[in-house]
Symmetry: C2
Subunit: 264 residues, 2 copies
């Protein structure tokens, strides 16, 4: 299994504090040492960093911990390999283009007996069930909509696709096109919104705290989404199984829960 | 205009020496300060770094200069903006997936009156003529071949597409799918092959030299391709206008020259 970290904000914000705690799970407080990756949206562009070394020792992860890249949508992943060998092409998040925008996707969980029909527009490069699911989701969205539909239609389509894939196993994931961050829970996912008045936050995984009041403005709003809470003095809200939440500008703007039954 | 740097090798090799000289052109020995990028293939995976800061001062470029990422195919680009604003989504190289492999593309030059019909599988995210040309090339390859054809067929198709786009202006570019590196020249492109017996090389843009005999094995073979020679004590071969060379395992394995006439 793996761990996921997502951030969605109303103003470009760096993720140095949260990534530092998260990266500790790649060898120190967790066993997720089979590669990692992170994607930062910056305007319509994406900075995409992947490495098959553990995030705790990777020189690229060291850069991320030190260089405050500011972004409104971030998706990060640390991997403990279950399906697919340890290699760069199997590191999440994956990136593809749809409707003239980049989409990024990272997944926690395993899908069983999952072999969707891929007709061509998106084919996996690596060997994970995760990239397969991502390719199928984008293919399905492309089939339904020639251009990006209204947000509500898009949310409903993503919900339906998530429900279908969830019948094959655990499908905790994060997906973003740089505007919205979709977070879907099968088993483990938590979120919180940091906003005025900001307070001090203390990491669970590292002896480190930050007083967000000193590094924010009153109008800032930041949603953090993660497979296990990152701080031990803030209130994290747990997702329901089968719940899809859509975050825009630092707020959960839509939420829906689908029934699902494992096919296995 | 911009500058391009490509490397194609028979064994994974780092590009620290050449990138160091190349990055000097982003502010010290050249004026290419409007962003930069580099893509490294590692197996089927790609490490893709882009930054809208100049490569000379970017913390991400600093990482590349220090961290010896080993790769068989590398494409790098430093940008002086002509068409398209300075932003992350306009930084080369661009990455897309075709036939289950990543493809990377970087371009030097300007295309005039260029508005190809894009039918959907690849749409530009940014606003450069370069990304437009890349999307059209991949769309055209996809239309011709449902899966990756034999190398000779692929070379011929890329040659035809290059000739067609060249009628719109200057089209120096590098394109790679991780196996082959295609380099096309309209105006400026040079290459050399480093192989046994290896010698000392001295950068033009920086007081730095390396004795490749001490960091290679006799079977290593490395082709370097660049818009302006990087070293002043090696023999660089200049491409002909309209020439496409295909590099595999550190050697130019195919070469063809097309006639072209500017449409403008």
């Amino acid at each position: 299994m793996c761990q996921l970290l997502g951030m969605n904000c109303n103003t470009p914000t760096d993720i140095v504090f949260s990534f530092t705690g998260f990266a500790c799970r790649a060898g120190r407080t967790g066993e997720h040492v089979d590669g990692w990756g992170v994607a930062f949206f910056e305007g319509h562009g994406v900075r995409h960093f992947v490495d098959h070394q553990a995030a705790l020792v990777s020189p690229v992860a060291e850069l991320i911990r030190r260089y405050p890249i500011k972004s409104q949508n971030v998706v990060a992943h640390i991997r403990k390999a279950t399906v697919g060998k340890v290699s760069l092409e199997n590191c999440h998040p994956f990136v593809r283009e749809l409707w003239g925008r980049y989409w990024v996707f990272a997944h926690n969980g395993d899908l069983k007996n999952y072999s969707p029909l891929l007709t061509g527009p998106y084919l996996p490069v690596g060997t994970t069930d995760s990239e397969l699911a991502f390719c199928w989701m984008l293919q399905s969205l492309r089939e339904r909509f020639p251009t990006r539909p209204a947000q509500a239609q898009l949310n409903e389509a993503v919900r339906e696709l998530s429900a279908e894939i969830s019948t094959h196993g655990t499908f905790n994931y994060m997906l973003s096109d740089g505007t919205a961050l979709f977070a879907h829970c099968s088993t483990n996912l938590y979120y919180l919104v940091r906003q005025y008045p900001f307070t001090l936050a203390k990491l669970c995984d590292e002896d480190m705290s930050v007083d967000f009041a000193s590094v924010t403005t009153p109008s800032d709003r930041i949603a953090m989404i993660v497979t296990e809470p990152l701080t031990n003095n803030e209130v994290w809200t747990r997702f329901q199984p089968g719940e899809l939440k859509v975050f825009i500008d630092g707020l959960p703007v839509a939420s829906s829960i689908h029934e699902f039954q494992l096919a296995v």
